[in-house]
Amino acid sequence: MKKLSFILLIAIIGVCSAQNPKAEGGSFALMNATIHTVTNGTLENSNLLIKDGKIARIGELGSLGADVKKIDCSGLHVFPGMIDSGTSLGLVEVSSVDRTDDSREIGNVIPHMKALTAVNPNSALIPVTRVSGVTTVLTVPEGGLFPGQAALINLHGYTPDQMSAGFSAAVMNFPSSGKRGWWDRRSDEEIEKETRENMKELADIWTKVEQYHELDSIKANGGTSVSMDYYPEMKALLPVYRKEVPLMIEVNKEKDIRKALEWVEETGVRAILTGVEEGFRVADEIAEAGIPVIVGPTLSTPARDYDRYDRPYTNPSDLMEAGVKVAIRTSEAENVRNLPYNAGFAAAYGMTEEEAFKAISIIPAELFQVSDKLGSLEEGKQATLFISTGHPFETSTDVEHVFINGWKIPMQSRHTELYEEFLQRSPGLEK
């Protein structure tokens, strides 16, 4: 009988582990950890209580209820979840298979397209990302002049709404006068013509938004009873025009950055510059304009053959030293997990470790207006954090646990599952 129940027990364990593990809810006490708060220094040998999805307390926790699950974090470190300020995670599954790429809709001016709509909560890429401690990403549509609205998502949830971290913003690809890659076969003349046309289109659109704003204002004040036609593009750009939300402007080339700064000054929009590959050439002007930037990937080749080999590594620190607020992104989908290394290279080439970590935590939280919830370890903020054996910039560091909104995330992904199955394959060579 004993033997039978043992066999049964084994069978039950077998069945349980065959299922996809679920995230675990409830209250958790992280005991005796080194807590990297980001905003209030580092606390040695301290504790952190997770309750109702939030960081309920940091420090002495007093007596804990029986329902609180204790996790011994001696020798371990707690960091706020890392935030990637520019990805296509959730929109793109296999980039070379068109049917799995929802990042590019048809149309040059389509600011009403919402990335959140097309986020696939069941993407295999999401678990691969979050087990590395990247808990939150901005997922960004790509394409023409106004390709749609980026969405900030937490990497846990069964619906886009559950994943939403409460921020979205229109994206603009500032007319570029550069080539896009080795496959870009446009001639210099064609590029120039396209840039010119896009600048003209931008001017036309802004005139229209201006008019739409006036009509909308008149209507709001009861100045007319005439109803306005369905015009989703204008409706989407209106809050940008009115400076209620930021506009994310992708711009990389020195000359283009200068033009973008002029355009921002003329229109007065609340801009965040993204990409900013040649930011180091225009750092003082960007600082003077008081515009924050999202740079990256840091791990990329210099854009021009005549640039120093380490320009992409030093770009974040060059901008920061000029006085620009800098966040770092990967521009990745499947390898968003390399975010700490993109920040790490910025740290190896000029930033301090703390500054580089801020560029993937509190600074993006501020840029995306969620610093009351994310980006640092403070009482009252969301319990979105990770526990690791060391600093996440080092590849020798293992991430042991991840919490998103207080949910303890299973530390499993396609990559770990294949490792477990194939490290010692069974059967091996024999049939």
Binding site: W182, T301, R308, E334, Y341, L418, L429
Partner: protein, 450 residues
């Protein structure tokens, strides 16, 4: 006979004089932490390179007054990093016109002006395997190059004496280019196998008919004629003779097994799989065959055939006894292969030595040059790199890179513009952004967009 001897002597003279043209340096690196790869890591140790070769490793070494002396106190010295899969320093990558193009050779299209060479040096890479692309099942021959930046002669880049290698390719790239693009075999993985079997069989017949002719041509009464010379078949025959190492672009487990079966049937043994994202699934078979695996640290999901892969690939392969390296296939990754190797500590907990072998001794073995490079041993080439901080730390920064004892990168003497040739027709206002996956498909872009 005498004529032949004279010819050989002249040939030797020519070859030797070409070799002699590349510079050899003398340098003494003092008080470093020396990571030898094959003989442990030694604190406070000197490395002395003379005439381009490692002459001594020890303490309190002295050198002649000609030697450059570098105080590397607090720094790390390791063998120059070797990239077993790259397309830098090439003017052309893909002869994407036929499923079999064994006759072409990227060594005819070396580009010593490619600034990527300097950027690779700045990442501590001294040798790269300049490969033909993966558009064809049997692509062109590759060239193993040393990063002797500053030369305008393409011959100076060649690693003299390195074995010949050739590129093969399986899966989506050849089937997309030839099957989907040109409506010829192969459109499927079935077709890819038959391309190899046909090429090997025809080369075998060709080889045998030449062997027969050569054995009999001087015999009295022999009436046979010389077979028609065919360079493509000559090259494939050399593969059958074991004179060329095959480096095969591959992803899926089934196609990896297929190629090993084909090779067994034709008695070909020298085989390294490139990318080989699903190599971990057939690690025991790879180990049994003795095939090498040259992998990405963490690239996956950029095409369907790498959707079911894992960043633990290098660790699984290593722990199953497969000679494994980490490559770049990219002008970007080649700049930080030390960081790519370091990722195997996150994905599979490899030791420092195991991780560093992936970018030194193991790629050297895969290229057949491990008797010359890949570790710091007396008598080996003076290809070394000096790092600030341990090379597997995120804070590792290459300080100096030497090839044959000659310094080609020095962070303290790094100019803004390191080009050695400026194209007057280049519009300097055009910049490229984005790093692409698989430089392998360069020059085959027509097939990507049509």
């Amino acid at each position: 006979m005498k004529k032949q001897l004279i010819f050989i002597m002249i040939l030797q003279f020519v070859v030797v004089s070409i070799w002699a043209q590349t510079k050899k340096g003398e340098v003494l690196i003092k008080n470093a932490t020396v990571i030898t790869i094959t003989d442990g890591t030694k604190e406070n140790t000197d490395v002395y390179i003379k005439d381009g070769k490692i002459s001594k490793i020890g303490t309190d070494l002295s050198a002649s007054s000609n030697a450059t002396v570098v105080d590397a106190t607090g720094q790390y010295v390791m063998p120059g990093i070797i990239d077993a899969h790259s397309h830098i320093a090439l003017d052309a990558v893909n002869e994407a016109t036929s499923p079999v193009t064994a006759q072409v050779w990227v060594g005819d299209a070396l580009d010593p002006f490619d600034v990527s060479i300097y950027r690779a040096l700045a990442g501590g890479v001294t040798i790269s395997h300049a490969m033909h692309g993966s558009a064809n099942a049997i692509g062109g021959q590759n060239e193993t190059i040393k990063h002797r930046w500053g030369t305008v002669k393409m011959d100076d880049l060649r690693m003299e004496g390195a074995p010949r290698t050739i590129k093969f390719a399986l899966g989506e790239n050849p089937t997309r280019v030839h099957g989907a693009g040109n409506n010829i075999v192969p459109r499927t993985r079935m077709g890819v196998e038959q391309v190899f079997r046909r090429a090997f069989s025809e080369a075998k017949e060709y080889m045998e008919s030449w062997d027969e002719y050569n054995a009999n041509k001087n015999k009295r009464g022999y009436k046979g004629m010389a077979p028609e010379y065919d360079l493509q078949k000559e090259v494939v025959a050399d593969i059958l003779r074991g004179e060329i190492i095959v480096h095969c672009h591959s992803y899926r487990a089934d196609e990896i097994l297929m190629l090993m079966d084909v090779f067994k049937d034709y008695g070909v043994e020298k085989l390294v799989f490139q990318h080989v994202n699903e190599g971990f699934k057939v690690a025991p078979e790879l180990a049994e065959f003795g095939a090498g695996a040259s992998v990405f640290a963490d690239w996956w999901a950029y095409k369907f055939e790498v959707y079911y892969s894992t960043a633990y690939n290098a660790a699984i392969l290593t722990k199953n006894g497969v000679t494994t390296s980490i490559n770049s296939d990219s002008g970007e990754l080649i700049r930080h292969l030390y960081h790519e190797a370091a990722k195997t500590q996150k994905y599979g907990d490899l030791s420092d030595d195991e991780a560093l072998k992936l970018i030194t001794l193991n790629p050297a073995k895969q290229l057949g040059i491990d008797d010359r490079v890949g570790s710091l041993e007396v008598g080996k080439d003076g290809d070394v790199v000096i790092f600030k901080n341990h090379p597997l730390s995120i804070y590792a920064v290459p300080q100096m890179t030497f090839v044959d004892g000659v310094k080609y990168f020095d962070i303290s003497d790094d100019q803004d513009d390191m080009r050695i040739y400026v194209d007057p027709s280049e519009d300097i206002d055009v910049m490229r952004s984005r790093t692409e996956h698989e430089k392998c498909m360069a020059n085959a872009e027509w097939f990507l967009t049509n």
